[in-house]
């Protein structure tokens, strides 16, 4: 039915080719780096919106309702939904699609489930590459849903232009909202399941936490006040969903205008390059400068009390040609 290479079909808008290329990138098959190099050079325009929060907060239902609103407005919208891989078997049950309802009106829609595959930051290590693939395909929005998170799985902040933290009325008292981590990365707080009792209270707690934070100097990664909205929704009944989508639009517009949008993108690319460099350096240091036997001997010496990990690392580093030459 189709001819040409996968990339040619991808460029012609073939959904099957898109799905194949995502697997290719996710599985890091031979040649994936070359493919990504090509895609990085293509024009792209998608906005990436992340949704994160504890398990069962209603992230999938929110993503589904919000994406259908965005589709109806004529946007091309895709979803990456991450669920956990077993650290024991490597298997995964990807169940976010259960909440997915087909939308026949409006723009193009695409949904892809991903397993976290060993990453512990709430996403899969390949999420940013898959988002790049979808962006290159021409989508207007990439919605990224994390695994159900606790307080410190924050990779989403390094992969998105905007982060929505989804909580529920049962998410805890005022002290919980003061804790570091998850509450620091929100560009917008969504209190979902707002039909339940306690929703007003957590909205108040979040609002006062944000007031305490306003005016303080924050780390550049921590979203700044003012202008972090707190909105209550009931995703199943689509209560306040239009408002949520409007907030997405206005927050993105604000950030583009203030320059923060570009600052964030810049930080993400810098982080990606340094990660790749780190990885490359680490593997090559280990491969090139020292045979496995040499490292084993070093470990033996440390265990025997004749050497220490710090000196060993220094020595291994100095044996690579990257170490500064002594004069």
């Amino acid at each position: 039915m189709s001819s040409g290479t996968l990339l040619q079909r991808f460029e012609a808008g073939d959904i099957r080719a898109l799905a194949r290329i995502i697997s290719f990138v996710e599985n890091q098959e031979d040649g994936y780096r070359e493919l990504l190099s090509r895609l990085y050079r293509k024009p792209r325009h998608a906005v990436r919106i992340g949704l994160t929060g504890p398990p069962g907060a209603g992230k999938s239902t929110l993503v589904d309702s919000a994406s259908r609103k965005m589709l109806k407005a004529g946007n091309d919208v895709c979803v990456i939904a991450v669920d956990p891989s077993s650290p024991f078997t490597g298997g995964a049950l990807l169940g976010d699609r259960v909440r997915f309802k087909e939308e026949t009106q409006g723009g193009r829609h695409f949904f892809r489930s991903m397993a976290s595959r060993g990453s512990s930051g709430g996403l899969s290590g390949a999420t940013d590459n898959v988002a790049l693939v979808l962006d290159s395909f021409g989508f207007d929005f990439v919605l990224i849903e994390t695994v159900g998170v606790g307080q410190v799985e924050l990779d989403i902040v390094n992969n998105c232009d905007l982060v929505a933290v989804v909580l529920v009325p049962e998410s805890g008292d005022a002290v919980q909202t003061l804790k570091a981590g998850l509450t620091e990365i929100a560009d917008i707080f969504v209190v979902n399941k707002a039909d339940r009792s306690g929703a007003d209270r957590i909205v108040t707690d979040l609002t006062s936490m944000l007031m305490l934070r306003s005016g303080q100097k924050t780390h550049p990664t921590v979203a700044k006040n003012p202008n972090i909205p707190v909105i209550s929704t009931d995703a199943v009944h689509e209560t306040n969903l239009d408002e949520l989508v409007n907030y997405f639009d206005s927050l993105i517009a604000d950030r583009k205008e203030s320059g923060e949008f570009d600052v964030r993108r810049r930080r993400q690319v810098l982080r990606k390059v340094s990660r790749l460099l780190q990885h490359r350096f680490m593997t090559e240091t280990l491969q090139r400068s020292s045979s496995k036997a040499e490292i084993d001997r070093a470990v033996d010496s440390i265990l025997a009390g004749k050497d220490d990990p710090y000196s060993t690392a220094d020595r291994l580093f100095s044996e690579t040609n990257l170490a500064p030459q002594s004069c």
Partner: protein, 145 residues
């Protein structure tokens, strides 16, 4: 975010309940078993149409589709899914399933292109082995660039 140089390919299977049959205990058992066997299982839930099942399988780029039918509508739903796969030009995703299916129907379905129909009493191990050995073998090897 470690980027490895070797392939991380996993068997991906889509599990679905087509039609109006709401009995999902069985498919949940299978989903858990395949998960525990190290596979990535995309569970799409109840009341799926043949169109949504095949569309989901394409988007998720799965190796196989497993459907559970306990309603007696297997002679309608299996062929409808096969027809949908054909319509979309998909010839490398394995369709298999399970349910309360009489032997003569099972034979007809397997002749029509359902790779395997499991009936009540099928050992879980047999299903896992089937997926491991028969699903994902026929994926078209396409040139990327």
């Amino acid at each position: 975010m470690a980027e490895k140089d070797t392939s991380n390919k996993k068997i991906r299977v889509l599990l679905a309940k087509p039609g109006l049959d709401g009995h999902d205990r069985g498919i949940k058992v299978i989903a858990t078993a395949l998960r525990d066997a190290g596979m990535e299982v995309i569970y799409t839930g109840l009341r799926q149409t043949p169109e949504t099942i095949v569309n989901a399988a394409i988007e998720e780029d799965v190796d196989g589709i497993g459907v559970s039918i306990l309603s007696g509508a297997h002679m309608t739903l299996f062929p409808a899914i096969l027809a949908q796969l054909k319509k979309q030009g998909v010839d490398d995703i394995v369709l298999f399933g399970g349910g309360i299916v009489p032997n003569e129907d099972k034979e007809k379905l397997e002749k029509a292109g359902v790779k395997k129909v499991f009936t009540p009493g099928a050992p879980i191990v047999e299903i896992i082995d089937f997926v491991r050995n028969e699903v994902g073998r026929n994926r078209a090897d396409e040139k990327i660039m």
